[in-house]
């Protein structure tokens, strides 16, 4: 059994092929120490990332999601990250209403040469997720919490008449 079982959390990273994936590689080649909780998924561009990737990842039990792309004005496809920035910011502000801590998701920009910055980002984000702890499961909400919110809004007439 690996020594880290139970200590590691599940963090999923979506990294663009051209900058951030290269940046993570640079950090690896440079042998910078990094936490090992992050699992990286390589995508062509941060503009390829549907906010639903992140929502589904979090709803299905990931403890954190990190998105990283090329710096604004540096996108390989010229403007993918500009669109991504708007979508990701909207998603970040949408998560709390679902009951997901917005601290479980972050997005940033790391270029292929910024191995040190990548190390810093991964370390800071992993620490942040460890502070938050394992994500509460949507399908395992405590019954007393359910009872507490049951009367939060008035029920509609279909329910009354039924």
């Amino acid at each position: 059994m690996p020594v880290l079982t139970g200590k590691e959390l599940r963090i999923v990273g979506f990294l663009c092929n051209w900058c951030s994936y290269g940046g993570a590689d640079t950090a690896g080649v440079g042998r910078f120490n990094q936490p090992t909780d992050l699992r990286i998924i390589r995508v062509p561009c941060s503009g390829r990332i549907d906010p639903l990737f992140i929502a589904k990842t979090l709803i299905n039990g990931a403890d954190g999601v990190l998105v990283s792309g090329c710096h604004p004005r540096d996108c390989h496809y010229a403007e993918g990250n500009f669109y991504a920035r708007r979508r990701l910011e909207v998603l970040k502000r949408f998560l709390p209403i679902l009951g997901i801590d917005p601290g479980r998701f972050d997005y940033t920009w790391v270029s292929a040469s910024e191995g040190q910055r990548w190390q810093k980002v991964v370390t800071a984000f992993t620490e942040q997720i460890h502070t938050l702890g394992p994500a509460p499961r949507f399908d395992a909400v405590a019954p007393e919490l359910l009872a507490k919110v049951a009367g939060a809004i008035s029920q509609g007439g279909n329910r009354v008449a039924a």
Binding site: P51, L52, A55, K56, I59, N60, P72, R73, E79, F82, Y83, R85, R86, R87, E89, V90, L91, R93, F94, P96, I97, L98, G99, I100, D101, D106, T108, W109, R117, K120, V121, A124, P136, F138, D139, V141, A142, L145, L146, K148, V149, A150, A152, I153, S154, Q155, G156, G157, N158, R159, V160, A161
Partner: protein
């Protein structure tokens, strides 16, 4: 001439050049109106206008692409038409918009609750009469008078556009702008007051009774993917057929995210929900977010580009995290 009579006259004039005109007619009982597709002058005589016209007829427009059709709209419905125009989902040359001032529509779930409280049921309604202030419903031999303010749809309590934002034919006098009522945002206020874990419990509690009928999607004028909805596609397989609360909530997240910057808050999703799940709250929160970030409201200006289909190299309101 009343708004209804004038609407009928104007539609009859325009009908020869149109495939059909979409509006509302009396449904299976006095309480329920239902969509009407007018193809002849006799059909036009069935048209209704008033507090029972709860449906948003704009939902049918994208399915009629290529045909020249007319549509009768309330103020809120006109915003859906404008949003469809903004996204090039319908062609302005093929749409003729008929409109009149709207004094608000009822929320049938509130009416049913009132009827239940008065000891009668919604299944036996024989007559409904409404003036601007009161709705009187006769059910099971009993007449129950309900103040409009208590049974109006929530969207009417916060209505900003009682008169169509875009119309080819506007009949009658414009309706006055209603004063916003604080209780119109009770759902969002309740969610805002909760802690984050409580909100998760809230959705867990409400989504539990979802039957995945997708009525919310089918009633939504902005859900134009229809048979290609990712909720039902196998490739990619976004949602499984598994009857779990997680899958049910995930569908609402899909719906809400696909409406980001597009939703006009017509409230059709929540009205169509047979289980009364407060799904509109998610979209209202997103709209508030979009408004804060991009100072934008969907479906008001046919020439505006939706905020997620454009960008600025320097975003004014997005403060990125420095690591």
């Amino acid at each position: 001439m009343s708004r209804l009579e004038e609407l009928k006259t104007r539609i009859k004039e325009a009908l020869p050049g149109l495939e059909c005109v979409i509006g509302w007619q009396k449904g299976y009982d006095a309480l329920h109106n239902t969509p009407l597709f007018m193809r002849s002058a006799e059909d036009v005589d069935k048209l209704e206008w008033g507090a029972l016209n709860v449906h948003n007829p704009a939902v049918y427009l994208p399915t009629m692409a290529g045909k020249k059709v007319g549509v009768v709209v309330k103020g809120c419905d006109s915003r859906s038409v404008v949003e469809l125009l903004q996204e090039n989902l319908i062609n302005r040359d093929n749409i003729v918009i008929f409109a009149a001032g709207c004094d608000g529509v009822v929320d049938l779930t509130k009416v049913k609750a009132k009827l239940a409280a008065a000891g009668t049921g919604a299944g036996v309604v024989t007559a409904v009469s409404a003036d601007g202030k009161t709705v009187s419903v006769t059910a099971g031999g009993k007449t129950v008078a309900m103040p409009m303010a208590e049974v109006a749809a929530d969207k009417c309590l916060r209505c900003q556009y009682p008169n169509a934002v875009l119309a080819d034919t506007f009949v009658g006098t414009p309706a006055p702008q209603p004063t916003p009522v604080p209780s119109a945002n009770a759902d969002l206020d309740a969610l805002d007051a909760m802690s984050v874990p409580d909100r998760m419990a809230f959705w867990r509690y409400h989504m539990d009774r979802c039957i995945r009928c997708y009525a919310c999607r089918n009633a939504c004028p902005m859900c134009v993917c229809r048979d290609h909805c990712i909720a039902q596609s196998r490739e990619p397989h976004w949602l499984s057929q598994d009857d779990s609360v997680t899958e049910k909530l995930m569908f609402q997240v899909v719906h809400a995210m696909h409406l980001a910057g597009r939703c006009t808050e017509c409230g059709e999703c929540q009205r169509a929900c047979p289980m009364d799940i407060p799904v509109l709250a998610l979209k209202k929160h997103l709209n508030r977010t979009i408004h804060d970030l991009f100072d934008y409201q969907a479906g008001v200006d046919a020439a505006a580009i939706p905020p997620l289909l454009q960008f600025k190299t320097e975003e004014v309101n997005i403060k990125e995290r420095s690591w």
